[in-house]
């Protein structure tokens, strides 16, 4: 499941990259930074990205998860650091 989520996240990143001054480094796969120290997204960009990811996971994998909520900030480390950490978090939210 995690690999399929990574693929969806990378596809969303590719679509979003056309609008970004500093594109998400999708060639790095799971290690591609999203938000934080080396990230390509500012906080508003992260909101758009996560909303697009939630929609894509629903449409393509029929996974209905909420990623942008208070639970995400209860984690010791942000789940939004890289494609891989976000995929891990999304997988953990699947019941």
């Amino acid at each position: 499941l995690r690999d399929r989520i990574v693929e969806v996240l990378l596809d969303v990143a590719r679509e979003l990259n056309g609008n970004l001054d500093n594109p998400i480094a999708v060639d790095k796969g799971s290690e591609a930074p999203l938000y934080g120290q080396d990230g390509s997204l500012d906080s508003l960009g992260l909101v758009s990205f996560v909303a697009a990811v939630e929609q894509a996971l629903d449409e393509r994998l029929e996974l209905r998860v909420t990623l942008a909520d208070e639970r995400a900030v209860s984690q010791r480390h942000s789940p939004f650091r890289t494609i891989g950490t976000l995929a891990d978090y999304a997988a953990s939210q699947v019941v």
Binding site: Q37, S43, V73
Partner: protein
């Protein structure tokens, strides 16, 4: 690093900055030391800057649903707010966040005491500058507060639905300490979100109260290699 610097125990500094007697600019640099911009305090001098007042008003309106008090701002109202509240309070400073030299938003603090302060007025008005500009702007302000005033912790209050601000704070080590259901009080054109008491019906909104302890911030900086 944080414990090795001298501290200022009063809010005289804030008053001197507001009055223009003390020039202050806080550089915004990333973890590699690359300059991204600066934090420039709003002072009484800015009350005569019509362009800035218009810009601040536009930003306040764009971001109004992110705040606990929601209303349509006007340039005159922004002038009054600055003159009568922001620039008369020795326990607060409002900064312009500059990308290079271009103002793109605001960030400030309120309720400065000898031990703590609360972040306030976080608005990214323009999507200009580095993606990490506001992350490092907030980091730079937090660091300056800890160093200058010897604070033990810094607080922030955000609406639970304001994921952008929540994530920004969390990235610096802020932790949610408390959650409160809110009720909406409408007074004319102004809506105020207030904590709902035990028997009151909440509006579905909630406030999250976050805290960043000095030691946690220090370890966050070490993780970033700063």
């Amino acid at each position: 690093v944080l414990s090795s610097l001298s501290t200022t125990t009063s809010s005289d500094l804030a008053r001197d900055v507001i009055g223009g007697q003390h020039e202050l600019t806080i550089p915004i640099v990333d973890a590699k030391g690359i300059s991204l911009g600066s934090l420039q305090p709003v002072t009484r001098h800015h009350l005569r800057d019509d362009t800035l007042l218009a810009q601040l008003t536009r930003w306040r309106n764009t971001a109004r649903l992110s705040f606990f008090t929601q209303f349509e701002a006007t340039k005159e109202g922004t002038h009054t707010w600055l003159r009568d509240h922001v620039l008369t309070d020795g326990g607060r400073l409002l900064f312009l966040v500059n990308a290079g030299t271009h103002p793109v938003g605001t960030l400030g603090f309120i309720r400065l005491t000898g031990r703590s302060a609360e972040l306030d007025n976080l608005i990214r008005g323009e999507r200009i500058g580095a993606a990490t500009l506001f992350l490092h702007a907030e980091r730079s302000l937090v660091r300056w507060l800890f160093l200058t005033f010897g604070l033990q912790w810094i607080e922030a209050a955000v609406l639970a639905g304001n994921f952008a601000a929540l994530q920004l704070h969390h990235s610096l080590g802020f932790e949610v300490k408390r959650r409160a259901e809110l009720r909406r009080v409408v007074d004319g054109d102004t809506t105020v979100l207030l904590p709902a008491s035990g028997n009151e019906q909440g509006s579905g909104d909630a406030a999250l109260y976050l805290t960043l302890d000095r030691e946690v911030f220090q370890s966050t900086e070490q993780e970033l290699g700063i």
